[in-house]
Amino acid sequence: MTVLAMSPARPTLVRAVCVREWREALGNKLLVGMTLLPPVVILVAGIGAVAAAAVNPPSDRDVQALYASAPAVAGLDPKDAVQGFIATYFLILFMLIPTVVPLTMAIYSVIGEKASRTLEPLLATPVGVGDLLFAKSLASTIPSVIVTWAAYGIYLATVIAIGSHAAVNAVTAPRWILAIIVLVPLLTLLSVNLGILISTRVNDVRVAQQIGGLVVVPVVGLGIAQVTGRVVLDNGAFFEMTIVLIVLDLAVFWLARLAFQRENILVRWR
């Protein structure tokens, strides 16, 4: 029987790799748990905080401190102001999801293949390693982006349903919606490729997660800076963050591509 093998078309390869990785991920209860836990915690905490602010009036001292640190809500009704402030604060926390969730998936994707010795047969096929890396990146990126968007969608709908006018204004602000649409995929890609890069050097999932976990530091720092009034996240700041993330994404993908070479993987990876 004669069958002519050849390099598969890129969309076919991407689809095949994604479906395989998702099947593998769904069969790993720990990974599913680690993927869903951060968005669920942030979502429940966010909704709970906005709801609590609606029923518990803040003290005068808290309100004055809030007016001082967040000029955007100054002059609003205290309950409105606190809800608006909390709603905005949790929007920043939503940016943590694309740094944590895909990192875990990407690390499992590479370290899992190293541990089960599945990389050599995979590399023996006629697919290009760049295409393979791209497919693996997408396999971790797509579910993470969907999870983040879904969590944001639920948060948005709940705040609209139970929140004050200021809270609704905060979560429906065009720059935040745009940030969720644009920054979340960019942050996710950064986290995924960082995870792949780290996984080429270590064999332990926990060590890789600890190293990769450092990616949340700038996001948390940004959140703290905004809460304390040291940074104002206006349109210009979002635009600058977008540019920085695009540059970082390209740089980290390039580094991951350098590490993800057939010979490196087979001979030097341990």
């Binding site: 390099s7 395989r20 099947r23 069969g27």
Partner: protein, 309 residues
């Protein structure tokens, strides 16, 4: 005979270590080519070179008509490799594993499914196709890995220790598969430590330790070591006069007593053996067996490979 693997001075160095040192090979279509050497001899590195998984430090190679280093993707499409470890996606079913790889080899969906079914049936795994590979025995996993290596019908199949750790039944299936591949005109490049298996399956054998030490047919190698010997067992045991009669037969190079038998070396046993039998019977000896004495490939291996460091 058409050549499907040709290498010239193919070399691979890792820093100061020369794993593969200037090998010249010509492997033919439809041949089972044995590649024998001790652990750490560079067999796996050679396999990886020939499958375009790693780049040579120097030298050239042409595999299935494609030039190594220039047409690597085409080489990988034209060959299949069974790696030392099965390397299967264990949480997934046998069917999903094979269809996934068929897709990566660029087979259209209908062909991918047909090939997955064909090889699962061939390996006796069709009934368990929906089960996760993690539930399979070592032998079943190895058969799965062989099916994966062959399902795109490669012109050359590289098998690294295909029967290691298998029970006799599974090993037999694998050997029968190799014979069937040869029958279908495919080339099998067989890396093995199992000398008995190499002896039974291979048309030619290369002894290798960083470089090719010797390439020959198994029979030629054995003949070189012991010549063509005949063992004659007499009842109750050979006498001195029996040995003298044998030594006097024309064509006999050498004869000696060994464990109750007379071992005779001659240039052409087909001519000499009837004369030997007649001489012994005429002398009143009682013959129990006359057998061809074959050297084991292991003896040849130990003589040729072991002394080389």
């Amino acid at each position: 005979m058409k050549t499907v693997i040709r290498t010239e001075k193919l070399t691979k160095r890792f820093g100061d270590l020369t794993a593969v040192d200037g090998i010249d090979l010509d492997v033919h279509e439809g041949e089972v080519f044995g590649f024998l050497g001790p652990n750490g001899a560079g067999k796996t590195t050679t396999l990886r070179l020939l499958c375009a998984l790693i780049a040579p430090s120097s030298g050239t190679a042409e595999i299935a008509g494609f030039r190594l280093g220039r047409e690597d993707a085409k080489i990988r499409a034209a060959v299949g490799i069974l790696t030392e470890q099965p390397g299967l996606y264990e949480r997934q079913s046998a069917w999903d594993n094979l269809v996934f790889y068929a897709t990566l080899y660029g087979l259209p969906p209908s062909v991918a499914k047909a090939q997955a079914e064909r090889y699962l049936r061939m390996m006796g795994l069709w009934e368990r196709r929906t089960e996760a590979v993690v539930t399979f025995s070592r032998g079943m996993k190895q058969k799965m890995a062989i099916a994966r290596a062959a399902l795109h019908e490669p012109r050359v199949l590289f098998l690294d220790e295909p029967t290691t750790g298998l029970d006799p039944d599974a090993a037999k299936t694998v050997r029968e598969f190799i014979v069937a591949l040869r029958g279908a005109g495919r080339t099998v490049f067989l890396c093995t430590h199992n000398l008995d298996e190499a002896d039974r399956l291979c048309d030619r054998i290369a002894f290798f330790r960083h470089r090719v030490i010797r390439i020959a047919k198994p029979d030629e190698l054995r003949a070189e070591l012991y010549g063509r010997a005949t063992e004659i067992r007499l009842l109750p045991k050979p006498r001195a006069e029996d040995l003298a009669r044998v030594q006097a037969v024309p064509g006999v190079h050498e004869a000696h007593l060994e464990n109750g038998s007379i071992v005779v070396a001659s240039a052409d046993p087909l001519l000499t053996n009837p004369l030997l039998v007649r001489a012994l019977v005429d002398g009143g000896a009682e013959i129990a067996f006359v057998t061809e004495r074959k050297a084991h490939l292991e003896d040849v291996y130990l003589q040729i490979v072991e002394p080389i460091e």
